[in-house]
Subunit: 148 residues, 2 copies
C-alpha cells in the first residue's frame, strides 16, 4: 500500500470524501523531498483550484500528514510529518530542516507553567542556525589562519 493510499485511507476514516483533486494534492505533497510551500504545491497541481489546495493543506495539517515550519522571516513552510509532536531546526544557509524530539521540551514547559502561573497547553518552538554541512563548507573564521 502506497503512502498516498495510506493517507487517502486516513481521510476516509475521518469521514472526508476522496476526490480527484485531493488525491492530486496528496500526491504532490508526498512527492516533495523536503520542506515546501503551498506555492510549490500550487505549481505542481495546476488542474486543482487555488482554494482547494489551501483547503487540502489545512486538512492534511489537521490529519498530521504534514506539519508546518515557521521560518525566521515569517514564511510558512510545510513538510511531510513522520512523527507526532516535534520541533524543527532550520539552516539559515541552505534551508535544510531537521526534526527534533530528543530534547526535553516538556520539562521546559513545566518550568514555564510554574514560573508564569499559566496552564500551558500549546507552544511554538523553532530553532535557526547552521547545519553541519554548511559549517564544514566554510573556513573556520573564529580562529585566525588555523593552518597558516
Amino acid at each position: 500500500m502506497s503512502d498516498v493510499d495510506l493517507t487517502v485511507e486516513r481521510l476516509e476514516l475521518r469521514g472526508h470524501r476522496v476526490t480527484a483533486s485531493r488525491r492530486r494534492v496528496i500526491e504532490a505533497v508526498l512527492a516533495r523531498p523536503s520542506h515546501f510551500t503551498v506555492d510549490d504545491v500550487l505549481r505542481e497541481t495546476r488542474a486543482v483550484g487555488r482554494a482547494t489546495v489551501f483547503r487540502t493543506m489545512k486538512l492534511l495539517t489537521d490529519l498530521n500528514v504534514v506539519c508546518r515550519v515557521l521560518f525566521e522571516d515569517g514564511a510558512l513552510h510545510y513538510r511531510v510529518s513522520t512523527r507526532g509532536h516535534h520541533h524543527h531546526v532550520v539552516c539559515r544557509e541552505c534551508g535544510r530542516v531537521e526534526d527534533f524530539t530528543t530534547c526535553d521540551v516538556s520539562a521546559l514547559v513545566r518550568d514555564l507553567s510554574r514560573a508564569t502561573d499559566y496552564e500551558i497547553e500549546g507552544h511554538w518552538l523553532e530553532g535557526y542556525g547552521r547545519c553541519s554541512d554548511c559549517r564544514a563548507a566554510t573556513v573556520p573564521a573564529s580562529r585566525e589562519a588555523p593552518g597558516g
Copy 2:
C-alpha cells in the same frame, strides 16, 4: 526624562533622524498598556502614513524598544520590551501576555545543538494556555462537584 525622550535619544545615537512622524508613532506605542498590533498604532496615528508606521515599527523592533509576539493564529502583535531577549506566554482566553526569562531556554538550545548538530543561533518560542485569572474564573471541571 520621559520614555519617549529616552527612545528618541536611542534613535539619535544610532544615527536615525528624529521626525515628527516617528515621534508620533513612538508616543502611540509607549502609551499602549499591553500588547497591540500595527493596526492599533495605525488607528492612533492617522496623520502618519501607513508605510511610515510599518517602517517605524521595524525600526523600534531593531532598537529593542518593542518585541514581537506571535499569536497561535499567526497574527503578529507587539509589546513594549523591557528586558533583552525573552519569551512570552499568551492566554488563549483573555489574550494576556506575560514575559518569561526565568526558564532555562539556553540549556534547551544547547541540547538542541548537540542533538541536531546544528549551530543554533536563533530561536522562536511562545507558549499558549490559560492565565491564573482565567483559570480561577472557571468552575474547576476536572473535579466533579468539588464542594457540592
